[in-house]
């Protein structure tokens, strides 16, 4: 037995009887960088949340640093010596670096808890020396760049005496030069005996810094290997599995596969053309064309800029450069009102905060984008409105108790159908769907695929955005792959899953 800092055996977890983790064994050795990879939904985040005690496990043992975690053990991860650095920073932006680092563990004098600033500073600089980089202690976190924030989080983790640091997609918010610097820091940490679990979508990164890699697929640990013993191709194969899912790409011949009948790719007329779209670090000059009767798939890992691109196409955010031509009209200043008038519909990434008015009735949500269709001038026609709503609810088979039911009480799948129904009712020529199947059940997913195929068959243009490759392979007539703010390439329908993943992950 080697010296394990964390050892998990026989871990099981399910949500509503759907197993998410199946009998997982996972071991992290003291002082190693252990990479954790897998597709979306493979169970990575659930595993991490269980390690942090944010979720309770159904069964299994967790031994950390020689102590066993009881099943229902209260207290946060940090108190146990585990720090998680999320994609989004968890620092408080209005406090200074040093205040953040010692938040909750400030050294104090006596009864009233006066902070001992001298002691804090001494410890802070000692920690900085230990990891080998300098941070400005009195700068507000708000004013730091993303790279410095990551470093501040690392120092905070060490100040809290963390023995294990979990990094969740740490390079997503970093630029090229910053990534190099960040790798140096991680390697330094390793040299100084800090243990790291490193979650990433970019296979290139894991060969640079990790010692071992564990691959999860559908909640099962399929392999743990020394990094020297594997290749990127092998990891992709392990992530996809050798059987079953690979067939999705060959589904073009299947009679029941939706998405067919929309005409041959490239056959329809052009409805939307985007040229040189650019915004911040997220979208770095994208050209794109959407055609009549065609489902264009846009795939990329989280953080590749897909969502930002979608928002530019609908005018939800201002483009900094570039122009969009919709049905002949060209503009560099698009906003949602103009976009809708030009015939664009947009299903946003987060249905809860952007797609729906949660506290309001299903009916009101369904007609929001096209109230003019159920009113005479300013005055609404309740009869026309409920007739229209009933028709939408039936045709989309949305399961509700009544049109007056608030959307808050619906399941994710039904909520998403409401958002989709809202745009179907508005009847746009171009439909942009950002992660339309995220967090919904398999049945609703099927229904949405079918619906999207039907929309394309009616001669509309669809941009279907997803981070799940099998889904894109099944739905799209052609596939655009996005990576780090740019279109990395285009693949035809029937492309192999390995090709797409390879392009996404720069492997």
């Amino acid at each position: 037995m080697t010296d394990a800092l964390l050892r998990i055996t026989g871990l099981n977890k399910s949500f509503w009887n759907v197993p998410v983790l199946l009998d997982v064994d996972f071991e992290v050795r003291r002082g190693e960088v252990h990479a954790l990879v897998g597709e979306n939904g493979a169970g990575k985040s659930t595993l991490i949340k269980i390690i942090c005690c944010a979720y309770q496990r159904d069964s299994g043992r967790i031994v950390f640093d020689g102590r066993e975690f009881a099943a229902a053990d209260p207290g946060g991860a940090l108190e146990r010596g585990i720090a998680v650095i999320h994609q989004e920073t968890s620092l408080i932006p209005t406090l200074t670096v040093i205040e953040n680092v010692f938040l909750g563990i400030e050294p104090v004098y006596g009864l009233f808890g006066v902070c001992r600033r001298d002691v804090m500073r001494e410890r802070f600089f000692a920690l900085c020396r230990r990891v080998g980089f300098a941070l400005p202690p009195d700068r507000k976190v708000r004013s730091l760049g993303p790279a410095e924030r990551k470093l501040a989080e690392i120092v905070k983790a060490l100040a809290h005496d963390a023995r294990l640091i979990i990094m969740d997609e740490p390079t997503d918010s970093l630029g090229g030069g910053e990534i190099e610097a960040f790798f140096r820091v991680v390697n330094d940490l390793k040299a100084r005996g800090v243990t790291v679990i490193y979650i990433t979508h970019y296979l290139g990164e894991l060969f640079r810094i990790s010692d071992r890699v564990t691959v999860l697929k559908d909640g099962v640990r399929v392999a743990t290997e020394n990094i020297g013993d594997v290749t990127a191709e092998r990891i992709v194969k392990l992530m996809l599995g050798s059987t079953g899912r690979g067939a999705a790409g060959g589904g073009t011949e299947g009679s029941g596969t939706p998405g067919k009948g929309g005409g041959p790719p490239g056959g329809g007329g052009e409805l939307l053309r985007a040229e040189g779209l650019r915004r911040g670090d997220a979208v770095l000059g994208v050209d794109l064309t959407l055609r009549r009767g065609e489902i264009t798939g846009l795939v990329g890992v989280i953080g590749s800029g897909k969502t930002e691109l979608a928002r530019l196409l609908f005018g939800a955010d201002r483009m900094e450069a570039g122009a969009v031509t919709v049905r002949g009209g060209r503009t560099a200043r698009l906003d949602p009102v103009r976009a809708k008038r030009a015939g664009i519909g947009f299903l946003p990434e987060d249905r809860k905060t952007q797609g729906l008015i949660h506290g309001q009735a299903v009916g009101r949500n369904l007609t929001l984008a096209a109230l003019d269709k159920v009113s005479w001038g300013e005055i609404l026609s309740p009869a026309a409105e409920s007739a229209a709503c009933r028709e939408l609810v039936d045709s989309l088979s949305i399961k509700i108790a009544g049109l007056g039911q608030r959307v808050r009480h619906l399941s994710g799948g039904n909520q998403q159908k409401v958002v989709l129904g809202k745009w179907l009712f508005a009847g746009p020529e171009i439909l942009i769907l950002d992660e339309p199947t995220r967090g919904i059940d398999v049945g609703s997913k099927r229904a949405i695929y079918k619906l999207v195929a039907e929309i394309a068959r009616q001669g509309k243009a669809v941009l279907f955005i997803s981070s799940e490759v099998p889904e894109i392979l099944e739905v799209a007539d052609r596939i655009l792959v996005m990576r780090k703010g740019a279109i990395a390439g285009e693949l035809p329908r029937g492309a192999r899953q390995e090709e797409v993943l390879g392009m996404m992950l720069e492997a």
Binding site: T353, I357, H358, Q360, A361, R364, L371, L380, S386, G404
Partner: protein
Amino acid sequence: MSANGGTVGAGAFFRRYAILIIFCALAVVISLVTPKFLSAQNVMNILRQSSIIGLMAIGTTFVIIGGGFDISVGSTLALTAAAVIGMQAHMPWPWAVLAALAVGLLIGLVNGVLAAIVGIVPIIATLGTMTIVRGLTYIYTGGYPIVGESEPFREIGSGRAWIIPYPVIFLVVMVLFWQFVLSRTRTGRYVCSVGGNKEATRLSGVPVDFYHILTFVIGGLTAAMAGVVYASRLNSATPLAGNGYEMDAIASTVIGGTSVSGGEGSIFGTLVGVLMLNIVSNMFNLWGVPVHVQHLVKGVIILLAVGIDSYGRKAERR
């Protein structure tokens, strides 16, 4: 409103009409213990007293449903009351009334632009305009009460049709009109949507800033209507007029079931809220209870009404 109807259980029914039920129960109890309460004269008195806050609270309801907050309406009442009397020196009274309404509209527009375009938190934006407008009122009146000359103008506030005072008729018409706007027009629907989730509404291609500003404009306009009725009834205006009325308007709105976080509410509910606060004061007046005790009870009513509602919502979310 059928898209909003659907199935309503007994619990939901009670929650929906809780304020109305409590109001009716209260009215019955008061009329039993206070014989004078139900006399025609007293009822008309209550209604007339309710008309000024009632008009103002219509606008407040729109603002709160739209997700905003407006504490400048008391000052707006003072300035428009002073304006409608002061301007009668230069023009016939109907023109003065229109001018006063325009002033209210303009103040609302400024509030709306500050909140929706500049992005100041509404309560702070209107705190600023509240102070400025009060200052303008002092400047305009020179710090003294000003008295009106026109007899026909006085009729607005003190005249009656048969036994019903004009302000009451005016209030009823306005309540019906604005309730119609709120529940049966696109404008009303968009106002609710903006208050419910501004971002989701924006991403549905609705010009959200326009509707957000519009709620403040309605707030300013109805405050000006209240100002005109106020000036006419007293046939004078003082720089301190309407001080604290914004709080009564907000209290009536939330007692009437409008969600403080925006998105839903009704003008009818607000009217019930206004009447509720007024019958309680009326009862105390008939009993000869001192004014400071009235404040106490009013505060308790506000907390009770909003407390029951908020707690119910919290339970619903769980």
